[in-house]
Amino acid sequence: MKAAVNQKLTEMGERDRLKELLRAKLTECGWKDQMKAHCKEVIKQKGLEHVTVEDLVVEITPKGRALVPDSVKKELLHRIRAFLAQHTK
């Protein structure tokens, strides 16, 4: 089911629009700034010369997922539902 939904969203360009909406919402609520600060801490710890993108991904993913506000999740879910309702027979 997930794959079929993803296909529909991608095809109609809705996936890209949702990505943009999410980016805007996460910036507005301060999530982006929190993550940026956390990244800086990780880089300080590991040292600028040794840290890789993978290190950062591993370190910040759990925190990032946990800190997404419920309101943002709700809104996106609502958008996706509305879109699917409009575009499935």
Binding site: A3, N6, K8, E11, G13, D16, R17, E28, T52, V53
Partner: protein, 496 residues
């Protein structure tokens, strides 16, 4: 020339890593572009359809898990489960591209690499695709151009902005009852976006004469941020105002609010030639004044008989609010009622709050039997209700508390205290948070009075500007003041 100390950045070499050389052969640029267009940022419906169908992991079929595409052959695999790593190893194809963000991964370096030529291609393709889809421009941090680096090298003098430096603060000499102009100049020179616009020299003048008010504003900003501490004499500004807004000429005291609107109007008119394209619709100008100050006020008139709604949207630069004690009926909303406590406004004395005034402004109003409106649904004159709401809130919201009453029989100043907050949540009226950055006050009576301005410099330092005299002020001073014009700035900005 002044600058702010930048964060430490690593210098990256133009070539990301030595392993890309194997890829940069023949028609590699075009091939890379095709990959971006088809599988990363799909702009057209055709490419999107292809992407939806084909972008799944060739090993496990997943469409998530940080899907990557091999740069040497047509192979998609997920990163999280290391399927793309297996492909890289077995085929000795050492480069892959992240389909979500377009980053290039080198399996030899075991990290994402930043190749200047490849990044350039990525940027261009993203911009193209987003334009096709109607998504705006992506915000990217400022990087100096070669010319700018040259300028910085030739002008080595630097001014450090510390928390106790007074840059941006300057007094203004009173040229004879001109405090009504001085107080507005203080508010405008401390409007963050306007300041940024002028200090980055964004105004390109196309006026033939030298009576351009925008040029004068630009000059004014240079004076304010020059570091000079002596008061500035704004005689040229005053002369230009007299030239372009005749109704404000003369040596008697004028209304600061009238001056604000006149100044914005003249600036807007002189700015209209500033855009890349000439504004063909006078109401849809894209000048800096419109971008910052213009909002949209929606007026809905509902017929009481057929309930048909007639809607109009008018642009506005400020919101004029009636006060209790004026001759217009003011509904006193109970202090501490839900909504008023929202903005942390004080209710210790049962004072009216700014939110109360805004709620009153947007409440439905019955127009009465003597003011019937012709209803297009009923084809006759009917009683109706009218309601105002903020359709579009500007970046800077200016609230004008109507303290000067000029009705037929009386002329007086309403001194009722209205409590206003440091941070304003416009959620009940629109979804946005605003911060206070300037307050204009009037002391005295209608006939003779004096204007002063509180302005916010840096994040939380407040100063009182009384013509040429600038003194430190506390937040309490600001919030306890009577308030005539209140300037709020949107906290989060989205780039359109």
């Amino acid at each position: 020339l002044l600058t702010v100390k930048p964060d430490a950045v690593t210098t990256m070499s133009p070539a990301g890593c030595p392993h890309v050389n194997g890829f940069k052969v023949d028609n590699w640029k075009q091939n890379l572009r095709v990959i971006y267009q088809c599988f990363v940022w799909s702009g057209s419906a055709e490419t999107r359809k292809r992407k939806a169908k084909s972008c799944i992991c060739h090993m496990c079929g997943a469409h998530l898990n940080r899907l990557h595409s091999c740069l040497y052959c047509v192979y998609f695999a997920c990163f999280a489960k290391k399927h793309i790593h297996e492909h890289a190893k077995s085929k000795r194809h050492n480069l892959a591209i992240d389909l979500l963000y377009g980053g290039i991964y080198c399996f030899m370096c075991q990290d994402y690499i930043y190749d200047k030529e490849m990044e350039q291609i990525a940027k261009e393709e993203q911009r193209k695709a987003w334009k096709m889809q109607g998504i705006g421009e992506k915000y990217s941090t400022w990087e100096p151009t070669k010319r700018e680096l040259e300028l910085l090298r030739h002008n080595p003098k630097r001014r450090r902005i510390t928390s106790n430096c007074t840059i941006g603060l300057r007094g203004l000499i009173n040229l004879g009852n001109t405090c009504f102009m001085n107080c507005i100049v203080q508010a405008l020179t401390h409007t963050p976006l306007l300041r940024d616009f002028f200090l980055s020299d964004r105004h390109k003048c196309e006026m033939q004469s030298n009576s351009c008010l925008v040029c004068e504003m630009s000059q004014l900003f240079q004076e304010f941020y020059s570091g000079h501490r002596s008061p500035h004499i704004p005689f040229r500004l005053l002369h230009l105002v007299w030239t372009h807004a005749r109704h404000l000429a003369g040596y008697e005291q004028q209304d600061a609010h009238e001056f604000l609107i006149a100044a914005l109007d003249v600036l807007h008119r002189h700015c209209k030639d500033d855009n890349g394209k000439k504004a063909n619709n006078p109401n849809h100008c894209n000048c800096i004044i419109d971008q910052i100050f213009t909002g949209g006020l929606q007026s809905d008139v509902t017929c009481q008989v057929c309930h048909g709604v007639s809607t109009t949207i008018d642009p506005f630069w400020d919101i004029s609010l009636d006060l209790p004690g004026s001759s217009t009926p003011f509904w006193p909303l109970s202090p501490g009622g839900d909504g008023s406590a929202l903005n942390g406004e004080s209710h210790t004395t049962g004072a009216t709050t700014l939110t109360d005034c805004l709620r009153r402004f947007t409440r439905p109003e019955h127009l009465g039997s003597s003011a019937k409106i012709k209803c297009s649904g009923c084809h006759s004159y009917q009683e109706s209700t009218k309601q105002l709401t903020m359709k579009k809130l500007p970046i800077v919201a200016c609230f004008h508390l109507k303290r000067f009453e000029h009705s037929a029989k009386l002329r007086r100043k309403i001194t009722t205290y209205v409590s206003f907050p440091l941070e304003l949540d416009m959620t009940p009226f629109m979804a946005s948070r605003y911060s206070l950055f300037a307050v204009v006050n009037h002391q005295g009576t209608l006939e003779s009075g004096h204007y002063t301005t509180f302005i916010r410099q840096h994040k939380d330092q407040w100063f009182k500007c009384d013509d040429a005299i600038i003194t430190k002020a506390s937040i309490k001073d600001v919030l306890d003041s009577e308030g005539y014009l209140l300037f709020y700035h949107k906290q989060f900005l989205e780039y359109e």
